[in-house]
Symmetry: C2
């Protein structure tokens, strides 16, 4: 893929460990043998954003994994919702091997090494009432909703020291029941702007805004 | 598409004019006859963000039009760049009929009526030196670059009263020459975070952050 020869150096990393440099020792038909040397250079902090995502259409979900990993997310909680069609849960785009490959593609694009944790939940109520506290310890909980009064760009993130849990609804939005249940479990309603966005656009927008707002300026040479 | 019958009311709008309600008068095989009534309800302001976009791969550009229109953008300036492959400019994804259809799809999704202006430029230097001032009157000019020292979430937008012109580079980034040329024409280097993002992710992220930062809270009933 990288079109390199023996002796070349490539940037690489070990999942959950380090980034570094690989020196090409041998190019085989199906693989490249590298000598890996971990670097002491700045590694982005593990992102502290958890995403609760009402499962979009498989075609959309398929493209979304790599984008989510590239933007940086700690955990992806895939959920049912009233407006999520049941057969979506049987799609190959939720199979662990498929998901892992697409997530690694996104990490590799972004030069990141932290693989997001992924879980899939077919019952929204059970997820929110019973499982969510174990999945995410973020006290700052936000639900995206075009009718939210607060803007994601300006809402206070002062309670975000344990990270942020953001919930993005299905195409067509959350139902009032779902919004009430989320609200009863500490989710505050925020909007990106007053537009209804497709759920992949809303996810990328949400993670980008939060990444940008919680990003620290890294130390750089030169 | 909407599965409606005679007498039903649907939300609709007239490009660059108004949003309103259509009452279904007749359902024909290929069309629906509506009686349109413009509403006096709040219409989002025309977005004041211009995007200078180094043309991505056709497959990526194809999906991007609707997302850009949904997020809201005043003008899309598609540009060549050193790392943009020339044949991309001959792709059908730049044909006006195709572009218009995808932009209207995005507007319709977002409930918006303002069609972005689109222009295509095959010479980066000519664009930046000769044409850009006529295309965008935004004095706030930003170029996205993962090595930028300022964050898009925190940079001052105090000179953004005429809107914002944001430049998103090709896969692989701008060259130093291109960054220097942009810089000489008033573009400030900003980053989303310290990751390299795919250009469609970077576009959506950029528009979302800017939309969110410049959004005013609309008046709402209830």
């Amino acid at each position: 893929v990288l079109r390199v020869g023996v002796g070349a150096q490539v940037r690489c990393g070990v999942i959950d460990e380090s980034v570094g440099t690989g020196t090409v020792l041998e190019v085989l038909p199906e693989a490249v043998l590298l000598q890996y040397s971990a670097s002491t250079e700045f590694v982005s902090a593990r992102p502290a954003i958890d995403l609760l995502l009402a499962l979009p259409r498989p075609k959309v979900m398929k493209r979304l994994w790599a984008q989510l990993a590239a933007l940086g997310v700690r955990r992806i909680i895939v959920s049912a919702a009233w407006k999520v069609e049941r057969p979506y849960f049987d799609s190959h785009v939720l199979e662990p091997l498929f998901v892992g490959a697409r997530l690694r593609e996104g990490l590799s694009q972004a030069g990141d090494i932290y693989l997001p944790a992924v879980s899939v939940h077919r019952q929204f109520k059970v997820l929110v009432e019973d499982d969510l506290d174990d999945l995410s310890n973020a006290r700052c909980r936000l639900v995206l909703d075009p009718a939210g009064n607060e803007s994601l760009a300006s809402i206070s993130l002062s309670n975000a020291s344990d990270g942020i849990l953001a919930a993005v609804g299905p195409e067509g939005g959350w139902t009032p029941y779902e919004l009430d249940l989320l609200s009863a479990h500490g989710f505050e309603r925020v909007r990106i702007n007053d537009r209804t966005l497709r759920s992949d656009t809303a996810c990328v927008a949400t993670l980008a805004i939060l990444a940008c707002r919680t990003d620290r300026v890294p130390m750089r040479g030169g």
